[in-house]
C-alpha cells in the first residue's frame, strides 16, 4: 500500500497539465465541432442503457449472437492454419476491396441465399455497419432524403443523423414495408421536387420489427426502384437464420444488382467479433464506395479475412449456422410462450420466422423509455422503441432480443417486464377510472384481423384464463 502511494508521489511530481477552466473548455471544444455533430444525438437513453450492462440484469436489450456456441477447437484450428500457411500475409495490409479468397467465401454465402455475385461486384468491409456508413457517405448530401422502414434498425439512425440526411419512414405490416405507402410518399416528395437517394430496408426478419417482406412486395419494391431510378440498400444480416418456412428471394437476386445494393455480414453466421461484412453494388457506385473505404480505413482486417477463409476450408460453415438456428429457434419459442403467458392482453407482438428480435407494442399511454427505468429496478432490460424512429414515434414499443439469453432467463425476463407493464396498466386504469378494462379480458380481435391492417404483424395474447397473482 505504501509503495503504491510512493509511486503516486513520484507520478505527481511529473509536470501536470495546467488547471483547466470550465467555460473556456466548453467554448474551446464547442467552437471546433463540425455542424453535423449538432444532430448527432448521444441520448440519455445511452446512459441508461449503460446500466443494463450490469451482470445482475437479464438483458433482452442487446442484439448479441451466442458466440459461446462456437467450438473453441475450430477457433484454434483456424488460427493454427493461418500461422502455418499465411502468417506474413495475415499481418500485412491488404487490397481495399478485400482478398479474393474471402470473396470466394462471400460468393458461397450469397449463393446459399440464391444470389450470384462476381468478385468485381464486391467490397469486403469492417462489419455490415461500415456499409451503411459508406453508402450514406457516398450518396447523401445534407438534407438529402433516405427512405427507411418505420421502425428501422436503431444502429442506422446515428449514421443517417451524422450525414444530416432527412429520413422518411414508411410503415410496415406483416408483409414488411408498405410499398403502396412508399409510392405515395415518393409521389409526394416528387411534387416537392425532392428525390430520395436510396431506400434502406432490412427485408428479412427485420431489426427491430422481426417481420419479413413478402415476395410480391419485394417484386414491387424492385420495380419501383427501377421505374424511379432509385437505389435500394438491402441489409440482410439474418436471412440465413430462418426457423421455419421458405425464404423469399432477396431483392438483390430479383433486381440482378442494377438498383439494389446488398449488405451482407459474417456477424450473425460466424462471429461479430471478426468485424467482417461486405457490400455488393453496381460498379460506378462500388467505385465511389471503394474510395470512401480507402479513406476510412485503407482495408478490412486481413487477419479476419483469412480467418473466414480458413474456417470455410476446415469445415462446412453451414453446420454452425444449422446449430445456431436450432438454438435460436428454441429461444424464440421460449420468448413467444413467455409473452403469451406474462404479457397483458393489451400488448401485441410480432412472431418472427427467424432473426434475433421480437417487437412488442403496448397501449400508447405507456412510454417504454420510462418503463425501461421501472424494469431496471427488477433487473431486466429491453430496447425502447423510440430509438428505431427518427420522427418521435415508437414510444410505446420495445425490441426484445432472444438470441443472447437462454430459455430460462428469457422466460424470467419476460415475466418481470410483464409484471412492470401490468403495474402501469393498473395504475393507468385507476387514474382514468377505467380499471375494469384492465381486470377483464378484452375481446380477442387480432386473431381475425386481416394481415396488413396494422403497423406491424401483431399478435395478441392467446385467450386463456388469467393467472392468479400479479400485484
Amino acid at each position: 500500500m505504501r509503495r503504491a502511494a510512493d509511486e503516486e508521489d513520484f507520478v505527481s511530481s511529473d509536470p501536470r497539465p495546467p488547471s483547466r477552466s470550465t467555460s473556456r473548455d466548453l467554448e474551446r471544444y464547442a467552437g471546433l465541432f463540425a455542424s453535423r455533430t449538432k444532430v448527432m444525438k448521444s441520448s440519455a437513453m445511452r446512459d441508461i442503457m449503460a446500466v443494463t450492462a450490469r451482470p445482475e440484469v437479464i438483458s433482452l436489450a442487446g442484439g448479441l449472437p451466442d458466440t459461446s456456441s462456437f467450438p473453441p477447437e475450430t477457433f484454434a484450428a483456424v488460427t493454427a492454419r493461418i500461422a502455418e500457411q499465411a502468417c506474413a500475409k495475415a499481418l500485412q495490409y491488404g487490397p481495399t476491396e478485400g482478398l479474393p479468397e474471402t470473396k470466394d467465401c462471400i460468393a458461397e454465402v450469397m449463393a446459399a441465399e440464391g444470389m450470384r455475385v462476381d468478385h468485381d461486384d464486391l467490397i469486403v468491409t469492417t462489419g455490415g455497419q461500415q456499409v451503411i456508413d459508406l453508402v450514406t457517405k457516398t450518396l447523401i448530401d445534407p438534407g438529402d432524403v433516405i427512405v427507411a422502414e418505420g421502425p428501422t434498425y436503431p444502429g442506422a439512425v446515428p449514421v443517417f443523423h451524422a450525414y444530416q440526411a432527412d429520413v422518411v419512414q414508411i410503415d410496415m405490416d406483416g408483409e414488411g414495408m408498405r410499398v403502396d405507402q412508399l409510392e405515395q410518399r415518393l409521389d409526394q416528395l416528387d411534387r416537392e421536387g425532392r428525390k430520395p437517394k436510396f431506400i434502406y430496408t432490412v427485408p428479412s426478419f427485420q431489426n427491430p420489427a422481426g417481420v419479413t417482406m413478402s415476395l410480391p412486395r419485394r417484386k414491387r419494391l424492385v420495380e419501383v426502384a427501377a421505374e424511379r431510378e432509385l437505389l435500394v440498400l438491402e441489409d440482410n444480416p439474418y436471412g440465413l437464420l430462418r426457423y421455419e418456412g421458405e425464404a423469399p428471394e432477396p431483392l438483390y437476386a430479383l433486381d440482378g444488382g442494377v438498383y439494389v445494393m446488398y449488405l451482407g455480414t459474417f456477424s450473425k453466421i460466424l462471429s461479430p467479433g471478426i468485424r467482417l461484412g461486405w457490400v455488393a453494388a453496381p460498379p460506378p457506385v462500388l467505385e465511389k464506395i471503394n474510395l470512401g473505404k480507402q479513406e476510412a480505413d485503407l482495408c478490412t482486417s486481413t487477419l479476419s479475412q483469412l480467418m473466414v477463409q480458413a474456417y470455410f476450408e476446415i469445415g462446412d460453415w453451414r453446420d454452425y449456422v444449422r446449430s445456431l438456428t436450432a438454438i435460436y429457434r428454441s429461444r424464440r419459442d421460449a420468448m413467444l410462450d413467455a409473452l403469451a403467458d406474462y404479457f397483458p392482453p393489451q400488448a401485441e407482438w410480432t412472431r418472427p420466422g427467424g432473426g434475433l428480435f421480437i417487437w412488442a407494442t403496448l397501449p400508447d399511454f405507456i412510454d417504454t423509455d420510462d418503463l425501461l427505468v421501472r424494469a431496471l429496478r427488477d433487473n431486466v432490460a429491453f430496447v425502447p422503441g423510440s430509438g428505431a424512429y427518427l420522427d418521435g414515434r415508437g414510444h410505446s414499443s420495445m425490441r426484445l432480443n432472444f438470441s443472447g439469453s437462454d430459455e430460462e432467463r428469457i422466460r424470467e425476463g419476460v415475466r418481470r417486464i410483464g409484471e412492470a407493464i401490468k403495474e402501469q396498466l393498473e395504475l393507468y386504469g385507476t387514474l382514468t377510472g377505467e380499471l375494469e378494462a384492465v381486470r377483464s379480458e378484452p375481446e380477442d380481435e387480432a386473431g381475425t384481423e386481416e394481415p396488413g391492417g396494422r403497423v406491424v404483424e401483431l399478435r395478441r395474447r392467446e385467450d386463456r384464463p388469467r393467472r392468479a397473482g400479479g400485484s
Binding site: 507520478v11 488547471s19 470550465t22 467555460s23 464547442a30 446500466v51 420510462d370 395504475l427
Partner: protein, 317 residues
C-alpha cells in the same frame, strides 16, 4: 496531501455523468498533489474503503444512493470524513416533495404543487381528486418523480387527458410523484459554495436551450445543446434576490460544502425555487464549475476548497 477516495459511478441512472464528474475531480486532486483512489461504487464499496484506508472521501455520485444520503450514512459508520452535505440534508434535498414543504414553511416561494404516492391512487382513490388539482394548478402541469435528479421522468401535461400517462411515466422512477404548476420563464441556477465566511452564492447561470422547448437531460450534459450564460443578464435586483433565495434554501435544507439551487424567473420577474441539488454535476458542462469560474474560482481551487471544508468539518484523531 491527503489520500482521497473519489466515489463515482454507482447504480444510479446518472452513472455516466457521475463517472465524468469523478474523472474530472480526480485530475484536479492529482494536480493539487493528493493521493487519489478512484472508486466505482458497487457491492465491494465497504471492502474497498477498508482496504484503501483513505483519509477522506470525495463523493462525486449523482442520483440514487450517492445523493440521497445512503452512501453518506455508510461513510459515517466507517468514520470516514466526506465532502458535501451530511445524511439528513441529502435526504431532504433528494426528496423534492419534502424540499418543497420545507420551502413553503420557510416562506421561500416555490410553484404550487401536490404530491402523491402510487399507493394513494391504488388504495385511497386519489384519482378522484385529479380534476380539483388540475383546476387549481392550471395547465400545463409539470409531472415529476419526487426523487430523480436531472430531468429524467419529467413530463408536461398540456391537458387533463395527458395527466394519467404522465403520472404513469413519473411513477416509473419513484413511488412518489409531484404535480407542479408550470412556471413559464427563464431557467436559472445558483450554485452555493461554503467558505470561511459562510456560504457564498456564486453568479447566476441561465440555461437557454437551443432546440427543445424544455431543458432536458440530454441538453443538460451535452456540449453545444444548451447555451449557458454566466453571469446571467437579469433585470435589476433579480440576481441579488436569486442569491438570497438560494442561500435561504441552502440553509433551510441544511446543505453543507456546496450545492446548487434551481429557480424559475417568471414573466413578471417573480422568482420561484424548484429544487436543490446536494451534489451538482462537476463535469465540463456542469453549472457549478461554470459559476465558480465566473467568480474567479478555477476548477482546481473549487475542488480544493470543497475538500478543505470537509477536512475541517471532521477533524480526525
Amino acid at each position: 496531501m491527503s489520500r482521497v477516495a473519489v466515489l463515482k459511478g454507482g447504480r444510479s441512472l446518472e452513472r455516466q455523468v457521475s463517472l465524468r464528474s469523478g474523472a474530472r475531480v480526480e485530475d484536479a486532486l492529482e494536480r493539487l498533489g493528493h493521493d487519489v483512489v478512484p472508486v466505482d461504487v458497487g457491492v465491494d464499496l465497504i471492502e474497498r474503503l477498508r482496504a484503501e484506508a483513505p483519509d477522506i472521501c470525495f463523493v462525486a455520485l449523482h442520483g440514487r444512493d450517492g445523493e440521497d444520503g445512503t452512501v453518506q450514512e455508510l461513510l459515517e459508520i466507517l468514520d470516514l470524513p466526506y465532502t458535501g452535505s451530511g445524511v439528513p440534508a441529502c435526504a431532504r434535498a433528494m426528496d423534492k416533495v419534502l424540499t418543497k414543504h420545507m420551502l413553503v414553511e420557510a416562506g421561500i416561494p416555490t410553484p404550487d404543487f401536490f404530491a402523491f404516492t402510487q399507493m394513494a391512487f391504488r388504495e385511497l382513490g386519489a384519482a378522484d381528486t385529479l380534476p380539483a388539482i388540475e383546476q387549481r394548478l392550471d395547465f400545463p402541469i409539470v409531472v415529476k418523480p419526487s426523487s430523480q435528479g436531472s430531468a429524467l421522468g419529467i413530463k408536461f401535461a398540456r391537458a387533463a387527458s395527458d395527466v394519467p400517462a404522465a403520472l404513469v411515466s413519473a411513477f416509473s422512477y419513484d413511488a412518489r410523484v409531484l404535480l407542479e404548476r408550470y412556471v413559464k420563464g427563464r431557467d436559472l441556477a445558483v450554485s452555493v459554495l461554503d467558505g470561511e465566511a459562510g456560504p457564498l452564492a456564486l453568479p447566476v447561470v441561465e440555461a437557454v436551450p437551443r432546440e427543445e422547448d424544455f431543458y432536458d437531460f440530454e441538453a443538460r450534459y451535452e456540449i453545444g445543446r444548451t447555451e449557458f450564460i454566466c453571469p446571467a443578464d437579469l433585470p435589476e435586483g433579480v440576481s441579488d434576490r436569486a442569491a438570497e433565495l438560494a442561500l435561504a434554501t441552502y440553509d433551510v435544507l441544511g446543505l453543507h460544502g456546496f450545492g446548487r439551487v434551481d429557480l424559475m424567473l417568471d414573466e413578471t420577474d417573480e422568482l420561484y425555487v424548484l429544487e436543490a441539488d446536494p451534489i451538482p454535476g462537476l463535469t465540463d458542462t456542469s453549472l457549478l464549475p461554470m459559476a465558480a469560474e465566473a467568480a474567479d474560482i478555477g476548477f482546481d481551487d473549487l475542488v480544493g476548497q470543497i475538500l478543505e471544508l470537509a477536512l475541517a468539518r471532521a477533524p480526525r484523531v
